[in-house]
């Protein structure tokens, strides 16, 4: 974590403009700034802001790519809210987010606590645990997952040893979503390294003081570690839940492109893909996309609002 120590963050916008002073200098700074920023500005206008507005418009139209969009008012939204498959996709996605995110973060924090102790081979473990986060999104791993969780494969047989026989997870509508949850949890390495960096910044003296006062390990974790890493925890909860809302590739590949069986892995993006790119219902798909944006914005807002109650920032304490 050397980067963290070498690079104390400075507040933005406090820096005086470099040597050139006066109005002419300021104008030159502005010009230079916008020139350097020009790729981003072009990208923001052409690929982010413009498309967002277009997509908002499409959401109120019937549009199949081949004939011009036709204004239909709220039709897409009313159809969508009554569409049983849309409801199904919401249910599947919520279940996925609510189950996968806490499990993944719990494992990430647990392993981070383990790795925060200096032991031999620590760096090697850290690297190995991080690897799944890099390959987890690939089609290759999707295939591997499909194989490992299919009927008669390792997970199924291990289960039968324990006396539970579900006949493989991939073909079972009640279980297949949990194979996806497992794939998400398997990628706990990314939040883990962020927890680890947070743990390393907790001042050692706090633990020593608490120990002198006779606080046990659990007590120290609850009263020192958890509050001290709460900003990092917040960051992880925010990032991981937003990512989980947007899952696509793993559901598509593990379900063999069907997002099934019986729509059991019909995550939101999967349905959006089917509607937009298979059925060419661009209007409906845009309405779905905007509904998701609103939902994610609400979740983000609630998380930011809740952080007052449980996130402790050092600056605030000073």
């Amino acid at each position: 974590m050397t980067l963290v120590k070498e690079a104390p963050a400075r507040p933005a916008g406090k820096r005086p403009a470099a040597p050139a002073a006066g109005r002419r200098g300021r104008r030159r700074e502005n010009l230079a700034g916008y020139l350097f920023m020009s790729p981003w500005i072009a990208g923001f206008l052409l690929l982010t802001a413009g498309p967002m507005i277009a997509s908002l418009y499409y959401a109120f139209t019937s549009y199949n790519l081949f004939t011009p969009p036709r204004w239909v008012g709220l039709d897409n939204f009313t159809t969508m809210f009554q569409d049983p498959r849309w409801q199904r996709s919401v249910e599947v996605t919520l279940k996925y987010v609510v189950v996968a995110t806490p499990l993944k973060l719990l494992l990430a924090l647990g392993v981070a606590l383990l790795l925060a102790q200096s032991r031999r081979g620590q760096g090697l473990y850290r690297a190995a645990f991080y690897l799944p986060s890099l390959i987890g999104a690939s089609v290759s791993v999707g295939f591997v997952w499909r194989a490992l969780f299919s009927d008669d494969a390792i997970v199924d047989r291990a289960q039968r040893v324990l006396g539970v026989d579900v006949g493989g997870w991939i073909g079972n509508p009640d279980y297949v979503l949990y194979a996806l949850v497992a794939l998400s949890v398997w990628q706990f390495g990314a939040p883990m390294v962020i927890f680890l960096a947070g743990l390393k910044q907790v001042p050692r003296e706090l633990y020593e003081a608490a120990e002198v006062d006779g606080a046990g390990a659990l007590r120290r974790f609850w009263n020192i570690t958890l509050p001290m890493i709460s900003p990092v925890l917040f960051f992880n909860v925010l990032l991981e839940s937003i990512h989980a809302f947007q899952v696509f590739g793993s559901a598509y590949v593990v379900s063999n492109t069907s997002c099934g069986p019986a729509d059991a892995t019909l995550v939101y993006t999967c349905y959006l893909y089917q509607k937009g790119f298979k059925e060419a219902q661009m209007g409906f798909a845009s309405a779905m996309a905007w509904t998701l944006v609103v939902a994610v914005a609400l979740v983000t807002a609630v998380l930011f609002w809740s952080q007052k109650k449980w996130v402790h920032y050092e600056e605030a304490a000073k």
Binding site: M1, L3, V4, A7, R10, A12, G13, R15, A17, A18, E29, A32, G33, Y34, F36, M37, P39, W40, G43, F44, L46, L47, T48, M52, Y58, L65, L113, L115, Q117, F129, Y130, L131, P132, L134, I135, S138, V139, S140, V141, A147, L148, S150, A153, I154, V193, A197, G198, Y207, V232, F235, V253, T269, G276, F277, M282, A285, S286, M288, A289, V293
Partner: protein
């Protein structure tokens, strides 16, 4: 130095603690690496054994799965998928490094009007679900007749839409000693010169982190190619893998698994070479959020 748990007592207690620690870590490691080792072993098994046999490693390794790859698939050689993926990934890396570092320099080192507003907008795009851009961007690129080319996949990279990397580089540049670039400016260097000769070389760790993540993300990218590429000869590795599934059926399971393994090799190799940069870069971005 232990963190949250009790400091180990000297002598036997310490050794027992160390043993327990390694036992715990190894247990997690076994579960985490199981799928990776499984695919390694499975690619050397005959097709019919791959799912059925529980042995992690093949009884008798066979090369048939890999030699099957040499035939290609539906008349397209496997190497074509790799060349396409490589093109995509390298273009993405060049685009992200150039555009993100220029943008980050403006945010971190130039005091221009409206900087804070634009910075807030840039951070806002980090949290924006990409879905809302998926359809209008497709419509746009379709109108420009750029579907079935790499342009839609890499255009955003050259226009700094990967806000995460801009953010990473801004954070890094803000951490650089201010005296260095101010000295360069006082010596009469323009911003371009300061960026190129002073700031960019000092940002090597952030640049390398961004480059590797971009490479891996592009290599793994599935949805982009799925939406934009239609001609099999232009397919990337991700789509090529899906062709195995579509056309060969279960009979050529072995080649599919072998190609899955081969597709993972560049990512794993990059990771092994640069894991320090990657992990530190990741952790840093999280801490300063």
């Amino acid at each position: 130095m232990t963190t949250a748990t009790r400091p180990a007592a000297p002598g036997t207690g310490r050794r027992a603690g160390s043993l327990a620690w390694h036992a715990g870590a190894l247990l997690v490691l076994a579960v985490v690496l199981y799928p990776v080792i499984w695919v390694l072993g499975a690619s050397f098994k005959p097709s019919k054994d791959i799912v059925a046999s529980l042995d992690l490693l093949p009884a008798k390794p066979v090369w048939a799965n890999f030699s099957g790859l040499a035939d290609g698939i539906s008349g397209i050689s496997v190497s074509s998928f790799f060349v396409n993926s490589l093109m995509y990934a390298l273009l993405a890396v060049v685009g992200v490094v150039v555009s993100s570092s220029l943008t980050a320099y403006a945010f971190a080192k130039i005091g221009f009007a409206g900087r804070n507003l634009l910075f807030t907008l840039m951070i806002g795009t980090l949290l924006l679900p990409y879905h809302v851009l998926l359809i209008p961007q497709y419509v746009l690129f379709r109108k420009l007749e750029l579907v079935d080319t790499l342009v839609p996949l890499v255009a955003g990279k050259f226009l700094a839409t990967e806000a995460f990397f801009v953010f990473l580089m801004v954070q890094f540049m803000r951490g650089l000693p201010r005296e260095l670039d101010e000295a360069a400016r006082l010596d009469g260097c323009g911003h371009l010169r300061t960026y190129w000769s002073v700031v960019l070389p000092l940002c090597r760790p952030a640049v390398i982190t961004s480059a590797i993540f971009t490479f891996i993300n592009a290599w793994n990218d599935f949805m982009g190619p799925l939406i934009y590429l239609n001609t099999p000869s232009k397919y990337t590795v991700s789509l090529g893998l899906m062709m195995f599934r579509d056309q060969e059926g279960i009979s050529d399971y072995g080649s599919m698994i072998a190609m899955s393994l081969v597709a993972l090799v560049p990512v794993v190799a990059f990771f092994m070479a640069f894991q320090r940069y990657l992990i530190d870069g990741m952790a840093t971005s999280g801490l300063k959020g």
